[in-house]
């Protein structure tokens, strides 16, 4: 069945189809439509879940942790300041190895106040131990929720599905809705080995002294790395069931590309348009879409960017003192590729779309021209910066 729906509602449908059982939610713009639709689903009896109107995002994540520890499938949604407030509990959920899934509707983070889109909120949480998936369109929003549960429950690492505020969250697109039974077939009932068995008393997240702490963290690290394989396996299963493909990274027009822009989220649509326009002019432009940001698919990125003379990265967030986060990751991935493949590409960071500023096709074309001329710098270049 196809339905016209906004990205937020696509997320809610993904949650319903995943048969989530506990929904602790706290409203924040631009996430609220997710929670509202879920409230309706529960009220109408279409989703058998406990909907908990918690008093803060911090408590929302704490309640998700409780529910997941009791072996229930848990979900929450947030944005921006709310995600920042949850930060402590994100570490706690990941450290406890709980397969919680959350949607984060990307919104700028204060100060100053800004309710519009950029990716600084989720990027600030990149090191909390959560998997992060960036969606390009509303179909991907829905499908990613199901995929996230498949992956999280296999590797016992929580997942964040990330969608750009307003660009996806409030914009309607046609979305194919999977049949519930088909989803059940690839996402069976949760059986978390880290959940409470009431007859076997254990301490969950106890004090762990220096003689064991490293080992716990090593296992957590390994589980995240192993998720790369699990994401590919889940993607293959999903493709078999529904025909839609969700690889870790998607190269576009890259076979003979001389200049490639790396990007994540909805802006990849704009970059694709710019690549098409440049190709029509005979310029060899290409794009690498990053769907999985955590774990960062270093090997795949290295493989596809090998031999490309000029690489640019388009970040929708900037970390003062360090530049754009995706640019950092891409540079780090390429570090060892130098000798064997004819030189490490020069990587130039671009920062755009902050606080809801549009990124236009001509902005992107301008970025391409800069890297094609070999005019890259170590410092990020801010697109459309007013003088």
């Amino acid at each position: 069945m196809k339905m016209l729906m906004e990205g937020n509602h696509a997320v809610s449908w993904g949650v319903m189809l995943s048969r989530v059982q506990v929904l602790p939610v706290y409203p924040i713009t631009p996430q609220t439509h997710i929670s509202e639709a879920l409230a309706d689903f529960v009220a109408e009896g279409r989703l058998d879940a406990r909907y908990i109107k918690v008093e803060s995002e911090h408590s929302a994540m704490a309640a998700c942790i409780g529910a997941s520890t009791a072996n229930a499938r848990a979900f929450t949604a947030t944005s921006s300041q709310g995600l920042a407030l949850m930060h402590e509990m994100l570490h706690w959920a990941a450290g406890a190895r709980l397969p919680i899934v959350m949607a984060n509707v990307n919104r700028a983070i204060g100060s100053p106040w800004n309710i519009w889109n950029d990716q600084s909120d989720s990027m600030s949480q990149r090191d909390t131990g959560w998997l992060q998936f960036y969606a390009e369109d509303n179909q991907e929003c829905l499908d990613s929720i199901i995929l996230a549960y498949m992956v999280s429950e296999a590797v016992l690492v929580p997942s964040m599905v990330v969608l750009d505020a307003f660009i996806l969250s409030h914009t309607q697109e046609a979305v194919e809705i999977p049949e519930a039974g088909d989803v059940d077939a690839i996402l069976p009932t949760l059986a978390n080995p880290n959940a409470i068995d009431i007859d076997v008393p254990r301490a969950y997240s106890p004090v762990v002294a220096p003689d064991n702490f490293t080992e716990v963290k090593y296992k957590q690290y390994r589980a995240s790395e192993d998720a790369i394989k699990t994401i590919e396996e889940a993607g293959a299963k999903f493709k078999d069931a529904f025909g839609r493909d969700y690889p870790l990274v998607s190269p576009y027009m890259m076979d003979d590309a001389k200049a490639v822009l790396v990007a994540a989220g909805a802006v990849t649509g704009t970059v694709r348009k710019a690549v098409d326009a440049l190709r029509r002019e005979g310029k060899k432009a290409g794009m690498l879409k990053i769907r999985t940001f955590r774990p960062f698919p270093r090997d795949r990125v290295r493989e596809v960017l090998q031999g490309v003379p000029n690489v640019g990265v388009l970040d929708k967030s900037v970390f003062p003192g360090a530049g754009g986060p995706i640019a950092q990751e891409v540079r780090a991935s390429l570090y060892y590729s130098g000798k064997s493949n004819g030189g490490t590409p020069r990587v130039t960071g671009f920062v755009g779309g902050l606080g809801g500023r549009d990124i236009t096709v001509s902005d992107v074309a301008h970025a391409f021209e800069t890297i094609m001329k070999g005019k890259g710098t170590d410092d990020p270049i801010f697109l459309g910066l007013k003088k």
């Binding site: 008093e55 911090h58 301490a203 004090v207 762990v208």
Partner: protein
């Protein structure tokens, strides 16, 4: 009356020590909190899960792989006892195990201060959980810094000249949420504590029990003074034993026959040793004033479990 003079040998409801809380834990000698948890677990039994925020019990229950409890224990961040308990209960309900008792076991910091927001949320939603505050009247686990529960005049490491504010009225705050059952309890009145936990067990919704848990380490007194101090807190009317039903009907469980001056209670504890006679009289004046208001507000004066004496 089965509580003996020292108040630690046993009660009519059975032994002090619960098979669910075993020896070998890491509490200071004489810790009132451990006595309280023993009693609570004795009543609630095996199908209980504890939500535990940062507090003395994060340490008392031992570093991995040691665990002195025979019930499941979920450690969590300081602010989250009530929110975690909410999620646990919802998770059990949604997976067909709604009979599991979920209780939060929080110190005064995790209740009066950093944990108050989540507690308020859970109470407002009337979550079907027990929330126990074992109140040792300061942040004892980090070395005795003042909390919202620290009483007027008390020395702590962050009130080196004595606390200048009155203890936060947590029962008043809780009562304002109109939860079905709220009570105070003391480790010197174990049958009363048992009766209150039992009463809570019968009630669906949020149960809040505030237990004054004398702490020899932080209160600066010998470890064999725990019960005596807790008993004197009740007898001097500093810590009244009471119940509040639905935020409205108030019951006073104990009315001392003769007045014990707060001097006897404060004098046991090093944390009050710097107080002048004038300051002690001021504390007495405030205690009297609060007691008068309390007695005027109660609907009934009776023991929590009829037939139990409290002196």
């Amino acid at each position: 009356m089965s509580v003996d003079k020292a108040g630690v040998k046993g009660t009519k409801n059975g032994p002090i020590v619960s098979p669910l809380f075993t020896p070998g834990h890491l509490a200071c000698p004489g810790c009132g909190g451990t006595l309280a948890l023993n009693r609570v677990l004795n009543v609630l039994g095996k199908r209980t899960v504890i939500a535990l925020p940062a507090c003395c019990f994060s340490i008392i229950t031992g570093a991995f792989p040691h665990m002195p409890l025979n019930v499941n224990l979920v450690h969590t961040a300081f602010e989250t006892a009530a929110a975690l308990a909410t999620g646990l209960k919802a998770g059990f309900e949604m997976t067909g195990r709604g009979d599991v008792t979920v209780m939060a076991w929080a110190g005064d910091g995790g209740t009066f201060d950093i944990g108050l927001q989540a507690l308020s949320g859970a109470a407002e939603r009337n979550e079907d959980i027990f929330f126990f505050c074992y109140d040792n009247e300061a942040y004892m686990n980090t070395g005795n810094q003042r909390s919202g529960a620290t009483p007027l005049g008390s020395w702590t490491t962050t009130t080196p000249t004595g606390e200048t504010m009155d203890k936060k009225d947590i029962m008043g705050i809780i009562a304002a949420h109109h939860i079905p059952y709220a009570a105070t309890a003391s480790i010197a009145h174990l049958d009363d504590l048992d009766a209150k936990v039992k009463k809570g067990e019968e009630i669906k919704g949020t149960k809040f029990i505030h237990i004054l848990s004398a702490c020899p380490t932080g209160w600066r007194m010998p470890s064999d003074m725990t019960i005596k101090a807790a008993r004197l807190a009740v007898k001097s009317r500093v810590f009244p034993l009471m119940e509040i039903f639905n935020g409205e009907r108030r019951v006073l469980n104990y009315r001392p026959e003769e007045l014990t001056h707060v001097r006897d209670y404060l004098g046991l504890q090093g944390r009050f040793s710097h107080l002048t006679d004038g300051e002690i009289e001021e504390i007495q004046r405030r205690v009297d004033e609060r007691w008068k208001k309390l007695v005027a507000s109660v609907d009934e004066v009776r023991p929590a479990d009829d037939g139990i004496e409290y002196i």
